[in-house]
Each structure stands twice: as structure tokens, then as C-alpha cells.
Amino acid sequence: MAALNNLTEHLEAFVDVTRSPTHHAESLKAIATSLEKSVLSINQLVVEMDMYLTTTDDVVRARGILLLAEMLDYLKSKPLDNAVVNSLVGFFTAKLAEWRSVRGALSGCLALIKRKGVAGLVTATDAEAVAKSMAQSVQVQSLALYDRKLCFELLECLLEQYPEAMINLGDLMVYATCEAIDGEKDPPCLMVAFHVVELLARLFPSPSGPVASEASDLFEFISCYFPLHYTHTKGDEASIPREDLSRGLSLAISSTPFFEPYAIPLLLEKLSSSLPVAKVDSLKCLKDCAVNYGVNRMKKHYEGIWSAIKDALYASTGTDLSFGLESLTSPGFEMNEIHREAVNLLQRLVKQDISFLGLVADDIRVKMIFDTISRYSRYEEMLDTSKLEVLVVSQILSVSARASVESCNTIFETFFVRLMNTLGIVESTSTGDLVHNENSTVSTRLYHGGLHLCIELLTASKDLIPSSEEDSSTPGCAQQSWCSIVNKFSASLIEAFTSAVQSSNDDCTADAYLGVKGLLAMGMFRGGSSPVSRSEYEKILTTLTSIIAANSAKTVKWELALKALVCMGSFIDQYHESEKAMSYMGIVVENLVSLVRSSHCSLPHPMILEATSEVCSTSPTYVEKMVQGFEEAFCSSFSDFCVNGNFKSIENCSQLLECVTNKLLPRVTEIDGLEKSLVSFAISMWNQIESSVVFSYAFNGREFVEAAMKTMRQIVGVASVNSQNSIIQKAYNVISLSTLPAMESIPLTFAALEGLQHDLSTRDELILSLFASVIIGASPMASIPDVKSLIKLFMVSSLKGYIPAAQALGSMVNKLGVGSGGTNTSSDCSLEEACDIIFHESFESGNTNSSDVTSKTICGSETLLAKICLGFYGSLDLQTRAITGLAWIGKGLLMRGDKRVNEIALVLVECLKSTNSSGNALHPTAMKHAADAFLTLMSDSEACLNRKLHAVIRPLYKQRFFSITVPILESLIVNSQTPLSRTMLHVALAHVISNVPVTVILDNTKKLLPVILEGLSVLSVDSVHKEILFSLLLVLSGTLTDIKGRQSVSDNAHRIIECLVKLASYSHLMVVRETAIQCLATLLELPHRRIYPFRREVLQAVTKALDDPKRRVREEAIKCRQAWTSISSRSTPF
């Protein structure tokens, strides 16, 4: 009973029109839920609602009926009793006549008619009654928008669900539809209305049916919307897009052949309009009509349509034929929508009825084309009209040829032989027979227009092969006449294209373009039945390859040939053409790879590498071949350098490595097997280094070492753990055979380190750098042998100033012991031990300084490394190197979230103090390095410890470091004694602040803003700090624009403005001035009373900036000045 009580409440709520829509929706929902849960049956509801459904109060009754209808809509998928449905339909049908409650009645009918596949369907008789009642008593156009839409939906639903019943009604439905549509203007309704027309046409296909007899009226009602034009485009986002509606209209117009006598003339008339939209719509609609009306009905309009298509094509084609690289695989000129639709229509018509082609073939303009072609030999010489003629006709012919095999045959039979004749490939004898002129290649006249037409036709015909070969019932394309024609001429055609390419020079790209495009077209026929034989195909490849090999500079011809080869390569890969693949491999790939290998070649090395990598990336088999070639090339060049001291070879090596890094490594996920070949490449790099024991010549530059390191790092980075292990093993073997292990034995003592005066040999340096790269790239799962001595090696070499060694150390401490879920079997050394070696290796020899009492008290880090950092022992060089090394180690620890980084941070901070706790003054250089160490710690590095190189990265590590160090640095800044130390502390702080995510800054603006401002003013003193000054300024500008920082910015406005005004004339970096002025402009968003007092200062500063040496600053200054003037009083306009 509680349910019923609630029900009355909800009913009242819904019926009361004074309540809010949300209220209504809530009560609806409540009733619907109880109905769905079967707490309440529909019968009960009707009984309960009796009063609302029958009352004489029109408003209440309308609401009541609507409520019932809405309920039925909710229960669409709930089984109902047939009797209930029957009586409800009867009720709603009766209510259709009553205009006050028509919305409820319509929704109710619709909800019931929509029921599908559940118990309780509306019977056909009932549906008929609904339709009748609707047709007779509902005046659609007098209703509101939503109700009209319901009407159309009801019609749609009736036609879809009860076709038999609707056929019984016959004329009535057609009349009702006509009446309903007449005058409709709203897109959502029209969308449904157009579909209704379509359904009607489908329902009454007979020529004596109601649609046939009423066709003219019905068409009149829908045709008045064509072409669709929206008058109100704005503010109607929810509405239907024009394209959809236009598609609906097109379907309606083309729905029945009975519309044909009215539709085609109308469409042709609209096509001649100057409105582009009308043209596009007419062409689209004509295509739909051609499909649906059938050939017989369309036939009588062919002439009209043909001339319309022609006009559209001539009007929409430009005369600019592009001879550029990008148009090699596209038509070469711009296509607008009209053009595209005209082409589609033409293709459709030809495909449907071959007789349409007769019109095309007999057209005078098409026939004239051969005269036009033979009048000009160069495209640039042609008049614009002739260019247009050539482009349009070739477009028409190629589209027609593309339509079907028959049309292709006809076109080739009619035109191709003539074209060959014009081009001089065949010659007519005195008897009038056409004779294939075998030896005409030399005399072949190069008519650009003709070549273009020829290429278009060939490209069109090649598209036909897939469709005819997939279907085995049709004869293969070899039997088709077009194919035999092409076959007959193929040799001469290839000759002609080849001579076009070869005769071309640099100032005429058209020759090269047409030649290459022609060869490409000939090379893209698919399958075994291709009209181009294998030997001819190979000839094409040879020609293109020789163009690539012969050129010594990057010309257009070279690029075109390369692109053509790449296209052919990917074509082969796409269609699995095994025979062609063999030719391709043999001619193109082998040749190019051998070019890479040979050191004596006219082509510059980077160009060979580019060509090879482009061509070979089309298929995995070629890639494998290429990497092998690269491997050999690397080995031979490298040994050439080592033995003969040929610096050219080492340059080639670097270029080759760069090519591997830039071209191949990014694609490692796309190409199967690439990873494996690259790993073997890396191993053979090691082999080569191992075998070249003596380096007779020193490098003159770090270019090669850097390229090698980068490649090695990235190869290890992408390799699987197993391959990593094999590379590491190989590298370890090499290193243990070198003189490097001697360094491991050096005890980590001060005296020993000081003694390391001599530098490493070139070879050792290379080995060390490469080995460091391997370690940097290795994943935590990879097993590294003999970690302890390696750490020692890296320690020693990093103290000798090899940064890669320091990075490798950082990488090692970052990854040690996290592989394979904690159970660390791969490594013989844990993180604890590693850190012990790094930090706590104590003095073994009785060094005199070790008993120094004061040194024991330094911030808990009485380690050798810390002491060197603080400058207790050794030279300044050693100190700075130690600091840099410590920074990288710290970064590794920081990223994995290890606590020891705090200790390192403390040491670094200690280095920044003017006098450390033991009273020693620190050298400025050391302080600078310590400050920069914070940059190393916080910034993302390309070279190591990033995600690609498998670094262990704990989330929010930057934030953690930020919260540890900032308070310390802040308090030290306050207490700093000397200006130098103060500056350095600010540099360190700026590094930390500018590298932390901006949200962190925004959360702490209040605290940080004063420090940032102070930092800006301290750093602006010396030009050395300009970069970091700029980063800090960017942080400040970030806080200015954000709403979170608004309050504290507003509180500090005077200081900010003071600071920015100073920076507006910062002479060392233009971007600083520019940003400062931009910030000043941003400040105008602050409350007026906060900034108004400063307008004079700002204007003065900005006016000075108007005379800035840099234009960009001046531009910003003008904008800023304009903005600030507008807040000052009107009486000072300038």
C-alpha cells in the first residue's frame, strides 16, 4: 500500500505543471522503477490514474495521458498482456483526435508500435486503425516541433513494422505523408520525413500503385528542399548536420524510378547553378539516381548528363600540374569536391552501362586531344586552355577506363594505339596499317601531354587487375584486350619513359617526373598475368637504381627515383609478389647495399645511406640484408681507419651509425627481426673493436665516439634481456682483455687517485665509453658480471673525468637488485654492497689526513667521496669531477627512491656553503659544479636514466626531492655569509624549482614567491646565469596565470612588478626581456587597486623597451604598453 500512496504523490507531482522539469523527471523515474520491478502492474496504474485520464480539466488530462505514454516507453522491453496492449492502443488512437492531449496520444501510440520481439504486440488491425486515425484527425503542420517529429516517427515506425497493413491502406498513407511534409522546415523532422518517403517508395513499387500515381505531387513536396540550404547555422548545435540531411534527401529523391521524369531535369538544372553546394549535391544525387532508376530510365538523359559532367570537370580543374615529389602517387593536381563527385558519377555511369562510353568516345573535345598533344612538346609551353584540355580529357579517359574491364578494353582499343602513334611509338605505313616501330626509341618525340595521358591510362588499368583476379570465374586479365595492347607496347613504353628520365636536366623537372611516374606505373601491375614481363620489370628497376647510383648530388630526379623505388618495394610487400620480390632484391637491394659497402663511390655517403635505408625498410627481408651490409661496411671502414688512418672512413662510420640510430632504431617495433639484426650489429661492433688492437691514429674529434655510444645505448635499450646479456658478455670480454682492468686494481685512496695523471689511450677510452653505454642501456633484469670490480672501474674513471662512467655508475645503482622481483640471482652484488664500495671504501693505506678529527663530523658522511667533494684532499679538478660523479650517482638513487640520496644532497649543499663545517673555504668552481649538480639530479636526461633505457623510476621522485631540499636551501640562503655562496644557493634552488612540475609550485606559491623573486634579482647580476634565470622566470610566469597562485601574486604585486621591470631591460638574453614584458601584461588581470599605483613605473619601463634592439621585444612592448595605457587615465594618451 505504501507503493500506492507514493504513487498518488508522484502522480500529483507529474501532473502539476507548475513544478520544475527535474521534479517531473524524478516522479516519472520513481513510477517507472516500481513498474519495472513489478511492484505495480500497468493495470493497477491505469485504474489508479482513472481520474487523471478522464477529467474535464484539459491540462491535467493531457499530463495524465502523457504520463501513461511515458510509462509505456519505459516498458518497451517488458512483456505485457495482449489484451492490455489492445485496449491501450484503442485508447491512444481515440485520443489522437483530441488536439489538447495529442502529444501524449502520439507518444503512447509510438511506444506501443515500437514494441518488438516481446509479448504484447500491437495487432495489424490496430496498427491500421492508428494509421487511419492519424491520417484523418492529426493536422501535422499545425503542431509544435516536438509533436511534428513524433508524427513523422510514428509514420516511419508504422511503415517499417506493419508493411502489409499499410499496403491495405494504400492511397491514404501517401496522402497523409504529402500533407504532413508540406511546409515542414525543421531538420530533425525532415530527416525522418525523407526516410518516410523512402519507405513508401519501397512499399509501393508497382507502376499502378499509389506512389506511381502520386509521384508528381510527392516529388514536388520533397524537391522544393533541393539543394539544401541552412539559413540559421549558428546556435543549433544539437541539430542535424547538413551533410546527413542532404544524404537523406538524396536517398528520398532516388528512392523510386517514378520520380525520374521530374528528378533528372531538376538535378541537371541545379547543376548549372553557380552555387558550389548545389553542384555537389546534384552530382551526388545524380549518382544515387543512376543506381536506383536503372539503365533504361537513365538512358534518355545521357546526353544531358554527359555535357553536365564535362562542364563540371572543366570548371573544377586547375591548370597547375605539379611535378613535385608528393604527387608521384597522386593525380598531381588539386581536386575539389565538385571534381570528386563528377568523377564518381562518371565512373558509376560507365560501370553501369557501357554504352555511355560511346558518348565519351565520340565527344569532339576528346577527339581533339591528339592534335593538342602533338602541338606542344613541353608542358610549360602549352597555353592554359590546352593544359586544361589535356588534364580534363586524361581524367575523363582514365576514370572511364577504371570503371570496368569492358570499358578499359574499349578505351584502350580506341585511344591507346592512336596515342602510341602520336607519341611515335608506332608508325603508320603507307598502306594505312599501324606497325609497331621497334627502333623508334631514339626518335621518340617527348610530348608531355601525351606522356601524361599515357600514364593516367596505365595507372587506371593497373587498378583493374585485383578486381578481375580475385574472381576466378572471369578470365584472367591476360586475355583482356587492354592487357595485350599494353603488353605489345610495353618494351617501347619503358624505353620512352627511360629516355625521358635520362634526357632530363636539372632545370626541367617535368621530363624526370613524367619519366619516373611512367616507369612507376609500368612497374605496378600486379600478379603473374601482368602485361609487363619479368625482364621488362627488371629493366625498370635497373633504370631507377642506376639513376640513384649515378647522381652525385641530391637532385629532384634522384628523389623521384628513390620515391618510386620505395613505392614499388612497398607494393611488392603489400601484395606478396614473390617473383618481383626476387628481382627487387637482386637488382635494387643488392646494388644499394654493395654501394654502402664499397668505399669508393661517386655518391656522397649520407645519400647512399638514405637511399638504402628508405628502400630497405619496405620489407623485413631487405632490412636484414641491409643491416648485414651496414655491419660489413662498418667493419671495413673501421679497420681502414685503424690501419691506414683514413679519416674519411671514420667519418663514414659516424654517418652510418647515425643512420642506424635515426632511421632504423625508431622502427624496431614495426619491423620483425630488426631487433635481432641490430643486436648482431652491436656484437660485431665489439668484435671489430676487439680485433683492431692497435690504433695507429688518434681521433680528431669526439664525433665518432658519441655516435657509437648513442647507437650502442639505444640498441641495448631496445633489445630483449637475453640479447642484452649476450652484448654485455661480449663487451665484458673485450674490456677484460684491454688495459682497463688495471684500473680496477687501483685502490680507492686519495694517494692513488692523485697519482692517476696519465690519460687513457684512445682505444681504451672508446672501449670504456661504449661499455658505459651498454651498462646505461641495460635493463634491470640483465645480468652484469663482476659488478664489484666494474663499479671500481667506473669510480676510478669517473674521478678521472669520464662523464659516461659516472652515468653508468648512476645507472647501475639505479637498477641493481630490482630485477626479477627481488630475488636477485643475476647479480653477484647487492645495492648495499655497491653503495659500500662507492661511499664507504675506507682508507687502507695509512694516509696522514685520515686521522683528521674534524673530518669525522661532517654531516654523517665520512666517506672518501664526500671528502673529495668537500675539497679536503686533492686538486680542484678531482673535486669537481667527484661532485659531478656524485650527482649522477645521486640521480640514480633518487629515481629509485633510495634514502641515501638525502646524504648526497647534504654533501652537495655543504659544498655550496662559503665555509663548510670544518672551516675550509670552497673554491668558486667547485661551488658552481655543486650547484649544477642539482640540475643533473632534477632534469630529465637524454643520455641515461630515462624510461627508454629502462631506468627504475619511482613516481613523484622530483616532488620528494623538492620537499627535502627546498627548506634546507631556503634556510641556508637566509644565513649565507658571502654573496658568492648566496648566488650559488640560488642557482641550486632555481634548478630544483624550475624542474619540478608546476602544480607543486602552485601549491606552495605563498612560500616560494618571495624566494623566486629574490632568486631572480640575485641571478640577474651575472650573465653566466642567464639560462637558469630564464627557467626561473618561466616558473614565475606560470604562477601569474594560474588561479591558485592569484592570491599570493596579488599580495606580492609590488615586488613582482619591481622585479619584472628590472628584467625588462636585462641585456644578456632576449627571451628574458620578452617574457618579463609578457608577464607585465599578464599582471593586468590582477585587481585594479593592486596594480594601479605601479602604472607609472611599468609604463616607463615598457617605453624604454620600445627602443629595444630586438624586434620581438619591441612588439611585446607595444602590446603591453597599449594594455597598461588603457588602465591609466584618459588624459595621458601617450
Binding site: 632576449m1070 617605453t1103 627602443d1107 634592439p1109 630586438k1110 624586434r1111 607595444i1118 597599449q1122 594618451p1133
Partner: protein, 165 residues
């Protein structure tokens, strides 16, 4: 003020392609100086601003499109701190000439360093009272007086308000 448009159907010209190539190529070099040149001054006056009538925008075109100003009509001497702008009213009897001139002057005063001496003149032979207008525009006192007039200032400001193209 004026009833109807003064020049109902102005000829609109296509804007010459800007040679922006040189624009910021010298970014990296902190010491180099980009001297203020013709193009910059012309852009300052034209690109971001439309000259409008007070009540209705007479034409929604920029001065450049109407060829009131071209790059060649601006003469700049950065070392001597001089700039001379010659503008061409669209029609001979254009009553907007003084307003346009005033706007150009104010715009230059706001966007050039104060060391500059600014000369504005109407191109010879293009305006009915060209000498008078030129004299008026270069008379310090009269310009200052004009800018005391709040209505005029408001109009100039409106003309110079940035248009976000």
C-alpha cells in the same frame, strides 16, 4: 557626423606577401641588433588595426588593403631617429584624412621610442586640401589640443584597438 559613407565602394587590394623570412632569423645571436625598419613601422600601423568611423565601421578593411599605406610610403632612418609616413586617402575629398593621420601619429607615438621625430603627410596630389591637412598633422600644438578632446581621444583609441585577426 557624416551621413552615409564617404567612399561607398572602395577598391580593395590584395596585400603584398610579407617578407617575413628575415623576421627572427637572428634569434640566437644576442648581440645583433634588429634596426627598426620600414616594414616594422608599417606593420605597427597597419596589421593589427582598423581605421573605423566612430559610429559605424565604414569599411572593415585595414589601411593596407585599401592602399592608404604601403611599405614604400614609410621612410625610416633609425640612426637619425626619423620616420616619415606618407599616406594616400582613398578619395580626394576624404574627410577622414585628418582622423587617419591623427591615428597614425598617435599609433607611432605609442609604439616608437621617444627619440623619434615623426612626420606625417598626405601624398601629393591625392587630397583636396592636402597642404592644410599635412600642416595640421605636424603641428605639435594642434595635435596636443586635439588629444585633449576626450571625444577625439576616444575615437582614436577605438581606431587603434587591436583587431584579433
Amino acid at each position: 557626423m557624416v551621413s552615409g559613407l564617404i567612399n561607398e565602394n572602395p577598391i580593395v587590394y590584395e596585400i603584398k606577401e610579407r617578407r617575413d623570412v628575415r623576421a627572427y632569423s637572428s634569434n640566437t645571436d644576442e648581440l645583433s641588433v634588429d634596426a627598426i625598419d620600414q616594414l616594422e613601422v608599417k606593420l605597427n600601423i597597419c596589421s593589427a588595426h582598423h581605421i573605423r568611423d566612430i559610429k559605424d565601421p565604414e569599411h572593415p578593411y585595414s589601411l593596407e588593403q585599401l592602399k592608404v599605406l604601403t611599405e614604400d610610403s614609410v621612410e625610416v632612418d633609425d640612426t637619425k631617429s626619423r620616420v616619415r609616413v606618407t599616406f594616400t586617402p582613398t578619395v580626394e575629398h576624404c574627410s577622414m584624412a585628418t582622423i587617419i593621420g591623427l591615428c597614425v601619429r598617435v599609433k607611432l607615438m605609442r609604439s616608437l621610442p621617444s627619440r623619434y621625430k615623426i612626420d606625417i603627410r598626405v601624398a601629393p596630389g591625392t587630397h583636396a586640401t592636402e597642404a592644410a591637412v599635412t600642416k595640421q598633422l605636424n603641428d605639435k600644438e594642434r595635435v596636443a589640443a586635439a588629444l585633449e578632446n576626450p571625444n577625439l581621444v576616444e575615437m582614436v583609441d577605438e581606431c587603434l584597438s587591436p583587431s584579433f585577426e
